[in-house]
Point group: C2
Chain length 209, copies 2
DNA sequence: GGTAAAATCCCCCGAAAGCGTGATTTTTTA
DNA sequence: TAAAAAATCACGCTTTCGGGGGATTTTACC
């Protein structure tokens, strides 16, 4: 039997290493390459063909969701396993809709990971157990708002501690525009101040810290 | 040869699991118990004697540094291995001064972890390789300011998105007092706005997110 | 090539945050 | 028990933030 070739995509080195270590326990799996962002992932896919790509949902710049769509478009044979960060479990259905073959929580056990990989490799759909159990009411899944590219930039600069005038100067736009973006962000995140905004942004890994 | 009994203390479930998985590769090591905070760690130590405690530096409420001191005081035979979060590597010397037998970055390889455990078990001092190399200039280690108990409370509420008036009401103190605490926090963190304050607080795990 | 979404710009105003500079009281600890 | 640290309260002032309205121009996509 040939080994299942795997690409791991995650911006957290720790997770990358951890997953690699876990996968090394399975003789029939080989981690062909790893990537820490979407662009690198595409490059690696071109250079080293794989059977399965394990993709973190929250990636910087281009999200795992977009990456999944791109992978399924350019490399339809590659199965995508979605993986979510520590606390949030959103976007799952979007990933599935984009063609993901399964979903893993990062706290998944060795057995769960094995099951996910085997399922994906066989073309089946795998979902982490606790999704089926605890998320019966799918509306309980926290909604991560869709943030546009520009909004993401502004958000990052807010987290970086810049004031609106500073952001305006940096992005070569009017203070009013920054203000609009900021207001839209507050509305989208459904919060009323910078503090909550930053907390959520960091929690859902929407910014670089 | 008897197995080395290990306790892992970390508030990140992922790290706990990852470390457990990694340690399971060593036949002569057994993870006796795990804990996600200092109190639980002490309880577990009383219930299940171990040889080595792997302690995360940044723990909620009681830090890993304080925990290390407590462990060395109450359980002098237990070797403590300090472990730091993803990006920061502070407090190391303090941990060592408090009796830690070594220091690990969380991104450490299997080999490094093995070396650390073996060293610690033999009573030697182990430091992650990249500490010796990259942190030659120890003054480059970011200083995490000492935050008093009350300040920590205020900080948590700021991160929770409360305004100063709300915090004052919640803590039954004057708005002026909250303002003072906030000002002291900004000064201690050497930042000039809430955004940066929260970013650092979360980065160094000084608050619950 | 039309339309929706994103990005841009504008104004007002009150509330909150931030800065400076104090002081007093309580608690901790050497 | 005395000194140090923490916690409390106070005032005036400036800047920024946040909420409420808008409007116009690019992009992106079907």
């Amino acid at each position: 039997m040939e080994k299942i070739r795997v690409l791991i995509v995650d911006d957290h080195p720790m997770v990358l290493e951890g997953m690699k270590a876990l996968l090394s326990n399975f003789e029939y799996v080989t981690v062909t390459s790893t990537a820490c962002n979407a662009y690198e992932a595409i490059d690696k896919l071109k250079a080293y063909p794989v059977d399965i790509a394990i993709v973190d949902i929250n990636l910087p710049e281009v999200s795992g969701i977009e990456l999944t769509a791109k992978i399924k478009k350019e490399f339809p044979a590659v199965k995508v396993l979605a993986m979510s960060t520590f606390k949030e479990r959103s976007y799952i259905s979007q990933m599935i809709q984009n063609g993901a073959s399964g979903y893993l929580v990062k706290s998944a056990s060795k057995d769960e990971i094995e099951a996910a990989i085997v399922s994906a490799n066989e073309g089946k759909l795998y979902l982490s157990l606790d999704i089926n159990t605890t998320d019966v009411n799918t509306e309980s899944i926290p909604q991560i708002p869709v943030v546009s590219r520009r909004e993401k930039e502004v958000l990052q600069l807010i987290v970086d501690g810049l004031t609106n005038p500073q952001i305006a100067e940096k992005l070569f736009i009017s203070l009013h525009t920054v203000d609009s973006h900021r207001k839209n962000l507050l509305a989208k995140f459904n919060v009323s101040n910078t503090a909550s905004l930053i907390r959520i942004a960091i929690k859902y890994n929407l910014v670089n810290t």
